[in-house]
Subunit: 494 residues, 2 copies
């Protein structure tokens, strides 16, 4: 037998575009999601956790290629006793699985069905800085209600959610628009040619970036962009372009004024009138629920997703300022978006089922909370009981057991105890507030040494020691006062 | 252009072996995991969430076959600009990723590193009844400590965890064994032939099923199994088999007695003596921490995992009785297991890194809590505000907003309001405790109707109405008493 070649060591690395999350990165996200789930629950939404793996057929958008489907999803083919089976894939969002779940279980689910879902999704895309191929989404959707009351409810819930997780009123705004109004505008313009409508839609999508003047140019002759390239225009006359501009800039001082402006922009269009009436109803419903324009506002300049959704569209923006990479002030921006998409389940059943929902960008919202100082402080490390005498490990275990019973996070040092300096370095790395020391002398005298590591760090940092001198950072207490003394120190810093 | 054939409707189905989780299935698991995380945190363990996707190379056990690696994992090959790249796979447990994470980040992690992880894992296996290809695991491990204090800590934490989630003391037992003792027994028997050692190990694994007499037969000449097939034995003489039997049955009345019996079983073996000393230390440490043999016990009859682990092995068993499929009483059985595995990181770095840990079977533990009546009650549905007049949706929205502000779960009916019976059927399906009704007359009179649906259901069930007759299940209250009255009803059932 030939001698087998020894396998080289495997690389200890996440695949490209994936990452690990440590400590507070995990717990802070979990806490935020639990708070959000609390709001969703109060609104009558039920939890759903669908499987991470779906058939490519059910996911829909991504069908098997000649070889394998790799357009945006991670997919593989089932192997059934040597035969090739179904193509499976990791879900790329939480909406496609909702459609499958609703179609599969519709006889058992209430109608309308309000559900929320939170969990990772996967995208087979080129990773980049800050762009990962696995990330969290957090969605709430109402399936089976065509009423705009369902849309209004989602907007109210979104506002409540932001406040509950820690974004104060005044620091966010939920903006509402409606795809039907835009359709009305296109109709009023007499644009019935699909290609031209699409060109107008694509142009509107750039409103955020190029502003009113830019959209005017792009709807007309074209425009020199920042890089110096000339972008061809749609070729409309100024007069033809006017309704689009009127639509995009229709936001007035009040909802009534905005509605008035929109009515002018849509002319005689029936679908447009329907859309405006929906926005009016949403504004009324929100006002009835106590959600004023300081929280939720009708704003036709919201264009993100207008191409995808079929009715009302919403977006939550955080309005406080942050500094960008170049030190310039800018608004934090969008953290959630959604809208009505009425063809959700039709693929499966042939029956149209209206649906509306919202998706919160979990990482964006966490970043916002970090900006506001709501999260991101270093986690409180455990009290570390050091090991002075390895034969008395039982004594140290008894100490941590007592501390834990009192609800205090505590651990025994489990590394090699020989070098005491290493034990204190370890406590430092763990961000420990307190170290406990019991050597042979202390044991004999029935006492323990308690080292206040937070105070110790402050003394080390401080230029002048005076302000600390009446508070020693290490002291001796009777063994039976261990828990009460440690608690006293922890409370002095909380 | 040829007319495209219309695609057939996709099947609305999870892939084989996958399932969806609804409502309380999701929230009860989340609550249990949060409780467990609380205990782990108190013990100084930090959260880790590694990516769900790993390179097949890092996962280790499963290397690419000729075509694709499908032995137990879901795997696929990266496509990099048309070139074939790395093989990736979904993690099949939380231990293999821990090894990769520790090797990758070891310079930034504390030493020892205590971490916990909870989340789904995936197995590419034939699904069966109750056997799914995606399920949750919940692990805690200490990497970088060779001290048996780390093992004792895991056992204590496991006992605390079971009590915190709702398994009372007396209903569980954590059993501890040690692979080194078994090695000592094999050494004492003079079994140095690997094949024979393996045969003995495999036999010991059957101790749970066949008992002492069965193991005796299997170590000797062989045994007729339940199906009538003859199973060949290892071929040892009775005298040769004796140390193994002594080992398996060495559990005495006290830890001291068990230790005494084990010392006899291992003879002069050095490795065996080391193992016995470790068990003795573990027993001492646990006693020092207040964990008596009513919670954690040295028990050499625990053989699960003895082949895999390198030192102490632990298993948590629930001792209360349930009825099996055939109505016979049996103990609930194992819900968690673990042990020491000292070669964890070596594959990556070449350096041996000691590690010990435990994995809780999340679904098993949830099933146990359901058996004990701790979870599994129907979730409290929302108060449903019915829609009598669809033009007054604003009024109904205002009601639910008030209820929610008072912390009461509430929703407006968002289906077609035409048929009032459907609205009550919906409330029933939602398990609603209360329905609120405000028609035109009520509105004019400044009142609302409140329907106590729990009482209503009781009346409907009850043969005699007498006991309910002094408590009407529907009544009128002033509109401004809506919240207080609903709260009163909810509190009467809580």
């Amino acid at each position: 037998m030939a001698k087998e070649k020894k396998a080289p060591k495997p690389k200890a690395q996440t695949p490209k575009g994936f990452r690990d999350y440590f400590g507070t990165e995990v717990t802070e996200r979990a806490e935020m999601l639990a708070q959000i789930a609390g709001v969703y629950h109060r609104y009558g939404f039920d939890a759903l956790e669908s499987s991470a793996v779906e058939t490519v057929e059910a996911l829909g958008k991504f069908l098997p290629d000649v070889d394998r489907p790799n357009e945006g999803v991670f997919a593989w083919q089932e192997d059934e006793d040597g035969d090739k089976g179904d193509w499976l894939a990791l879900r790329y969002d939480l909406t496609a699985p909702l459609a499958r779940v609703y179609a599969q279980h519709r006889n058992d689910l209430p109608l309308p069905y309000r559900r929320y879902a939170m969990g990772p999704v996967w995208r087979n895309e080129k990773p980049g800085p800050g762009r990962f191929r696995q990330f969290y989404q957090c969605d709430a959707d109402t399936v089976g209600s065509g009423s705009v009351a369902a849309d209004a409810e989602i907007c109210a819930m979104l506002a409540d959610t932001l406040e509950v997780v820690g974004i104060p009123r005044g620091d966010y705004i939920v903006r509402v628009n409606n795809r039907k109004v835009l359709n009305g505008v296109l109709e009023a313009m007499g644009l019935n040619d699909d290609a031209q409508r699409d060109a107008v839609l694509r142009t509107i999508d750039k409103f955020d970036k190029v502003g009113e003047a830019g959209v005017r140019e792009l709807l007309g002759k074209g425009r020199l962009d920042a890089s110096g390239a000339y972008i061809d225009g749609v070729g409309l006359s100024d007069a033809q372009a006017e309704p689009v501009i009127a639509f995009l800039t229709s936001k007035g001082e009040t909802a009534a004024q905005t509605i008035q402006n929109l009515k002018a922009a849509i002319g005689d269009s029936t679908i447009g009138a329907e859309g405006v009436a929906e926005l009016e109803q949403i504004a009324d419903l929100l006002a009835a629920g106590g959600y004023g324009p300081d929280r939720i506002v009708i704003d036709p300049s919201v264009v993100r997703g207008l191409g995808y959704y079929t009715g009302p569209v919403f977006e939550a923006e955080l309005t406080f300022e942050i500094l960008d990479e170049k030190g310039r002030k800018r608004q934090f921006g969008s953290v959630a978006g959604g809208g009505r998409y009425d063809d959700l389940v039709k693929r499966f059943t042939g029956q149209p089922v209206p649906a509306t929902g919202v998706s919160i960008g979990v990482d964006r919202l966490l970043a916002a909370l970090r900006e506001k100082g709501r999260i991101g402080s270093q986690s409180a490390g455990p009290v570390v009981v050091t090991v002075m005498d390895r034969d008395r490990m039982g004594d140290y275990q008894a100490m941590v057991a007592e501390l834990r019973s009192a609800g205090i996070r505590a651990e025994v040092y489990l590394g090699n105890p020989k070098n005491f300096g290493n034990q204190l370095k370890y406590a430092d790395k763990r961000n420990s507030p307190v170290a406990v020391i019991e050597g042979g002398d202390e044991k004999a005298n029935g006492v323990v040494q308690i080292k206040d590591l937070i105070l110790g760090a402050k003394i080390a940092e401080s230029a002048s020691l005076e302000e600390w001198q009446d508070r020693p950072n290490q002291f001796e207490v009777p063994r039976d006062q261990l828990v009460s003394k440690v608690r006293e120190i922890l409370e002095s810093y909380s």
